[in-house]
Amino acid sequence: MKIIACIKQVPDSEAKVTAADGKVSWGDAPLVINPFDEYAVEGALQQKEATGGTVVVLCVGPESAREALKHALAMGADEAILVSDPALTDLDTVGAARILAAAIKKAEGEMVIFGRQTLDNGAGLTPAQTARVLGWPMLGLAGQIKVEARSVTVERVIEEGRQTVSAKLPAVLSVVQSIGEPRYPSFMGIRKASKATIPVWSLSDIGASAPAAIITRTELLNPPVRETSVEIIAGETPAEIAEKLADKILAEKVL
């Protein structure tokens, strides 16, 4: 089975991100694989171990996104594909979904695994939109995956608990943290990844045209600065501290 994990490259989660001159700045923080997508790669590798097949990692992005793909290769993915084209600027999620769907078809993916959401845009829409464009079932927010005889069953983690949902392959999945800690790249993996050649597919390679953005940003804002001075509540005994703290909380009128 060919399993495709879709990954994006984003600024590291430790980065101090600010709005400067209408642009997003993350200083000199590194660009890394979207942390949610490490779970997607992990989920794909687990399925390969369980049922065989190959794991292909797929990214739509600039040349620099090769590094994120290499990380996935170092984790153990078999192949990587970068879809990159100068015409692809300001993609919204529907646009990304159309490009991903075309690339997934060309790569002949049978099970596609996404992360829950991106760290930068944070929409969490691309997986379901890709499924819709492909006309495939969507099994979202999986904490566990099981493939059996051309069908896939997942345990979905939702607000109200866990739901077991299954569908015939091909299908689109997204995963959450419960899938298991992403494995660290091994020494061998890193060596292999550093030598790997990553093909770059252009829009004409996948037979797609650049989608026009439906969602556009009109303004970028730094969030309002919050008053952050902390008042330390001290006392001789826990009871005395608790007494004072309880009064403070009650005075805030939040109970």
């Binding site: 999620t93 930068d120 109200e160 739901q163 969602i215 970028l220 804002l221």
Partner: protein, 337 residues
């Protein structure tokens, strides 16, 4: 101006942000509540009580279990025949999917996790967090209808008025399911962090009480989890007293102390309660992005240098095993409970 409001419910239990969406829709004009499922007659009735002008109910057994495809198709069909200007939904696991798919059908886009929405001419300008809330953006959607999922607790919840009623319009469901729901298990304790007004959270510190002696025969890991469960017991007591929910750091989840559904932070839930009490949580950036918008933050931590104190309004430098039960007692007395 006509707005569809999708009322998200699970087995008849409504996600409260649905009503907040309804309240927001009322400020724009005509409000049409959209309800799915043959177990939702009460939900449809409640929509009138919360102020809907019209209620469309796809009362079909095919929609008894949520499936992304059927729900999206039904919503798309209703939008095509009723032509709303705007479709509002609460932000939940289900709505992100069905809105995403419906937007593909309708050739429009979805603005997610919206905390502000203004009308400007014939378009809507949404404010939403990006980069885990480190920045905000204003965005517009050029498609029609505009679709937006709103963030829980960002808009006021309208008052329920039991005297309001109306005639529910039954509408047809789409039944193009390509997935099958096989089963469901409720979480041990229903956690709805996104809607909680009060959250008491525990971190790795909840397992750190050397004076507790675990039952004989436990190995080190089991003893750690046992200790942590005593710690979370104290946290749950406080949360229960205040009518709040129990949250957790990722270290607590990874440690096996509590389930993932309680996790607050980057890979867990983003919450915005009125009160957040963090106990034995250090305050790593990935935790902070999930809770720093809480109105009042209280931190209880042994380490005076823990970064959680940088975002807290009130702090106690001390042992949570002593402070948390004392706080529960003090509040119990003061609240007369």
């Amino acid at each position: 101006m006509k707005t569809f409001v999708y009322i998200d419910h699970f087995k008849g239990e409504v996600q409260p942000a649905s009503w907040e969406a309804l309240g927001l829709a009322k400020t724009f004009g005509t409000t049409v509540a959209v309800v799915f499922g043959s177990d939702a007659n009460d939900v449809a009735k409640a929509a009138f009580e919360y102020g809907a002008d019209e209620v469309l109910h796809a009362d079909d057994a095919a929609l008894l279990d949520y499936r992304a495809e059927t729900y999206a198709s039904t919503l798309s069909a209703l939008a095509s025949s009723h032509n709303p200007n705007l479709i509002l939904l609460p932000t939940t696991a289900r709505t992100r999917e069905m809105a995403a798919m419906s937007a593909v059908d309708l050739n429009t886009g979805v603005l997610t996790d919206v905390s502000g929405l203004e009308v400007s001419g014939d378009s809507f300008i949404a404010t939403r967090p990006i980069y885990e809330g480190k920045l905000l953006e204003k965005t517009v959607c050029s498609g029609k209808p505009v679709m937006a999922t709103i963030r829980g607790r960002a808009f006021p919840k309208p008052n329920r008025d039991a005297s309001k009623s109306g005639t529910v319009t039954k509408v047809a469901a789409k039944t193009d399911a390509i997935s099958e729901v096989k089963g469901y298990s409720a979480s041990e304790s229903a956690v709805n962090l996104g809607d909680a007004g009060i959250i008491v959270s525990g971190g790795r510190g909840v397992s750190n009480n050397p004076s507790l002696t675990p039952p004989a025969g436990m190995d080190e890991k089991q003893a750690e989890i046992w200790r942590a469960q005593q710690g979370f017991g104290l946290i749950t007591d406080l949360a229960t007293l205040l009518g709040g929910a129990v949250g957790a750091s990722r270290a607590a989840v990874d440690g096996g102390y509590i389930t993932y559904s309680h996790q607050v932070g980057q890979t867990g839930k983003v919450v915005s309660p009125d009160l957040y009490i963090a106990c034995g949580v250090s305050g790593a950036i990935q935790h902070l992005v999930g809770m720093r918008n809480a109105k009042v933050i209280v931190a209880i931590n042994k380490d005076a240098d823990a970064p959680i104190f940088k975002v807290a309004r009130y702090g106690v430098v001390g042992d949570l095993f002593a402070i948390v039960p004392a706080l529960t007692e003090a509040l119990k007395k003061k609240l007369g409970k």
